[in-house]
């Protein structure tokens, strides 16, 4: 196995009494698309900012290509590109001027800059917008431009903080296709996201909850970390059933999926057997039931809601 690109060793950050990130340790190998998942406020952005050398770790350490992310932050900065959560380019500058500025700021040699800008604009289909002010681009194009700016110095590693938040499906697709291309070209990608379908596209996924890393696996391995299959039922009417079922002690949680109810319970087989004998809600009709394999959304729910009874012990 090759040397990891990123290595976190008990990395922690506190703001006063708030422990934003607690003792996170993980390694990420070259060429990985690492998806960093977690609810808002779970500590994803803080972790990413520590890795980028924008926030000093309270304790523990992290390295990027064996350089310490805080002590060697000026040298580390040539190794990665960073796309922030908010649009952080200059709206009054044109696409070309933004790229030229970040090229100069990242010390790209002048002789290479023009060719590199042309290649990046081609990659993101922004060439026709070259002389448009960045502020008048659409949300998707802004994000593509931010990606171009982050790639201007051809870094081996790319950090993206919710790059597709608020984008339409077409631009989301375009950005992910780009990320695949970059990964194919050997770049390592560290991306935070809320979207579970995006988590499926990562080669590895990490779950962060209240600043703690709960799991770090491939999406397949994560789905296999479920001890039991999930019970899905069709009922009528749906909404009252959802509310009633949640109050049952043997049900950990219920979620609505394409009109059916997905039940999180430690013993789904026993549960459905008992319901077939005696359905507890006379005013609601139980139409059908089946056992299904969990998807990433189920994994996220189980980890973030701490449904430990559903999960194999090995991961946490």
């Amino acid at each position: 196995m090759s040397e990891p690109v990123i290595a976190l060793n008990s990395l922690s950050k506190s703001f006063g009494n708030v422990h934003a990130v607690r003792q996170v340790s993980l390694t990420i190998d070259p060429g990985t698309i690492f998806g960093f998942l977690g609810a808002n406020g779970a500590g994803k952005t803080t972790t990413m900012r520590m890795l980028c050398g924008l926030t000093r770790p309270s304790s523990g350490s992290a390295t990027i290509t064996v350089l310490n992310v805080w002590k060697d932050r000026h040298r580390v900065r040539t190794k990665f590109g960073y796309v922030a959560q908010r649009f952080s380019l200059y709206p009054d500058l044109t696409v070309d001027e933004n790229l030229r500025f970040f090229g100069g700021a990242c010390r790209v040699p002048k002789s290479e800059l023009t060719a590199r800008i042309a290649r990046l604009l081609g990659l993101t289909d922004l060439a026709p917008k070259r002389d448009t002010a960045a502020g008048s681009l659409s949300g998707g194009m802004r994000q593509l431009l931010a990606l171009d700016c982050a790639l201007i110095h051809d870094p081996p590693l790319l950090f993206l903080d919710e790059p597709t938040a608020g984008l339409d499906p077409v631009h989301r697709q375009q950005i992910w296709n780009l990320l695949y291309e970059l990964s194919n070209a050997g770049k390592t990608i560290f991306v935070t996201t809320h979207y579970m379908d995006e988590a499926e596209r990562c080669t590895e996924v990490g779950f962060l909850e209240s600043g703690q890393l709960l799991a770090k696996e491939s999406p397949r391995a994560l789905k296999e970390s479920f001890r039991v299959p999930l019970l899905e039922i069709d009922v009528d009417p749906v909404m009252p059933a959802l509310v009633r079922l949640r109050s049952l002690p043997e049900v950990l949680g219920v979620s609505l999926r394409s009109g059916a109810l997905r039940i999180y319970a430690a013993n789904p087989e026993e549960l459905i057997a008992s319901w077939r004998k005696a359905w507890p809600f006379p005013e609601i009709e139980l139409l059908a039931d089946r056992l299904v394999e969990p998807d990433m959304e189920d994994v996220f729910t189980a980890y973030s809601q701490r449904y430990d009874a559903l999960l194999k012990k090995s991961t946490s």
């Binding site: 900012r49 050398g53 922030a84 908010r86 001027e97 030229r100 100069g104 700021a105």
Partner: protein
């Protein structure tokens, strides 16, 4: 600074320059405001003497001799007299009459003069501005002295022959002293450093300093605050740029713009107000250090503020006392000693002093070296302070 790259600084400077260029409103403000301010302030402070002050003139002493005094006081350019009937009783009500002063010659005034019992004329003065009141009183006194001199000459002319004969019997020394005492003793003023006594020559550095400080501090204060507000500061920090490169790169375009503004103001004052400039190199050094100091201050405010709004507020809080206490428009010596120490911390104070020492006093370097040193120190302190605050943002 190790690893500082000129091309990196140039990238930041060019980007900042584009920001100035793209913000059309600020650009227009930058180009229009300095000449307009120069013209307005220049004309506002052009005249050094008060003239045509509205005043009431009430003569209650109908007498040829009093009339002669009235003729003299009417020629006094300080006042624009409104003659009123002697019967009015509310002459102290200056506000009602829309005047700043009212002069009353009481009945029997001239008779008292003839009786060897001179009585004063009454002068009501608006004392709300103390300087004005004293000035007006002095002006009336001067007219009165002129009148007295003329009356004396007239009296000597009309003396009977035997009195003159009597006078010739006095010892020579006493006669000479007597003649001397009868003359009006005078001052021969030799005005130095501002021979034309034009106030504009004095106040001019104050005008430049005021305009420059206003523009540079507020504009500079917005630069880092704006990046902080829009989130681009973090984007800047994850590039290979060092703090020094960011700071220098941000200062350069504003320095260039300010130099253009100074030249513009100087050219306008030379052409329109005929202000003369001596020792251009010394003046250039003073202006340059003052600019560095102002930009440094703006940068410090910028690094200290979280938003542009805060940056503007801090700038105003800083600039307000500067305008009042820096001696830009009036000599610092008018201020109490304790306040003068406060004035010494403002760069504008030192700029005005050094500029005047060079341009009016033609002083040698030793006279304004301290001011140059203070400006240089101010620039260094503000730059280092801004760099330190930026380091804190980074952490």
């Amino acid at each position: 600074m190790k690893g500082t790259s000129f091309s990196a600084i140039a990238s930041v400077a060019y980007k900042e320059f584009l920001h100035i260029l793209r913000d059309r409103r600020v650009l227009v403000l930058l180009l229009i405001l300095p000449p307009v301010f120069t013209l307005i302030f220049g004309h506002a402070f052009e005249a050094s003497e008060m003239t045509d002050v509205p005043a009431l003139l009430i003569n209650r002493d109908a007498n040829p001799r009093t009339q002669r005094f009235i003729e003299i006081i009417e020629k006094n350019k300080t006042f624009r007299w409104q003659k009123t009937s002697p019967e009015i009783a509310d002459e102290p009500d200056l506000l009602k009459h829309h005047v700043w002063a009212s002069l009353v010659v009481p009945a029997g005034w001239s008779a008292n003069l003839a009786n060897g019992d001179p009585k004063p004329v009454i002068l009501y003065l608006d004392g709300s501005d103390t300087n004005t009141a004293t000035y007006l009183e002095g002006s009336v006194l001067k007219s009165l002295a002129d009148f007295q001199l003329k009356e004396r000459d007239a009296m000597i002319e009309s003396l009977p022959e035997d009195v003159i004969e009597l006078g010739k019997k006095l010892p020579v020394e006493i006669r000479k002293q007597f003649v001397s005492l009868m003359e009006a003793w005078s001052v021969e003023p030799k005005v130095l450093y501002n021979p034309k006594t034009r106030f504009i020559d004095y106040v001019f550095p104050g005008i430049i300093g005021l305009i420059l400080q206003l523009l540079t501090v507020t504009l500079m204060a917005c630069t880092i605050a704006r990046e902080r507000e829009s989130g681009t500061l973090y984007q800047l920090m994850v590039t290979s740029l060092r703090r020094g490169e960011i700071v220098i790169g941000k200062i350069l375009p504003y320095l260039a713009v300010s130099i253009v503004l100074i030249v513009m103001i100087l050219a306008l004052s030379w052409w329109h107000f005929a202000v003369q400039f001596r020792a251009p190199i010394a003046l250039a050094v003073i202006c340059f250090l003052f600019l560095l100091c102002s930009l440094g201050l703006g940068l410090l405010i910028s690094a200290f503020s979280r938003t542009q709004t805060q940056a503007i507020q801090f700038s105003v809080f800083f600039l307000l006392p500067v305008f009042v206490l820096s001696g830009a428009f009036a000599p610092l010596e008018q201020l109490p000693r304790a306040i003068r120490y406060v004035s010494e911390i403002f760069p504008l104070t030192h700029f005005c002093r050094a500029f005047r020492l060079v341009n009016m006093y033609h002083a040698t370097l030793s006279f304004y070296l301290v001011d140059l040193a203070v400006l240089l120190a101010g620039a260094l302190v503000t730059f280092l302070g801004a760099a330190f605050l930026l380091k804190r943002i980074e952490e």
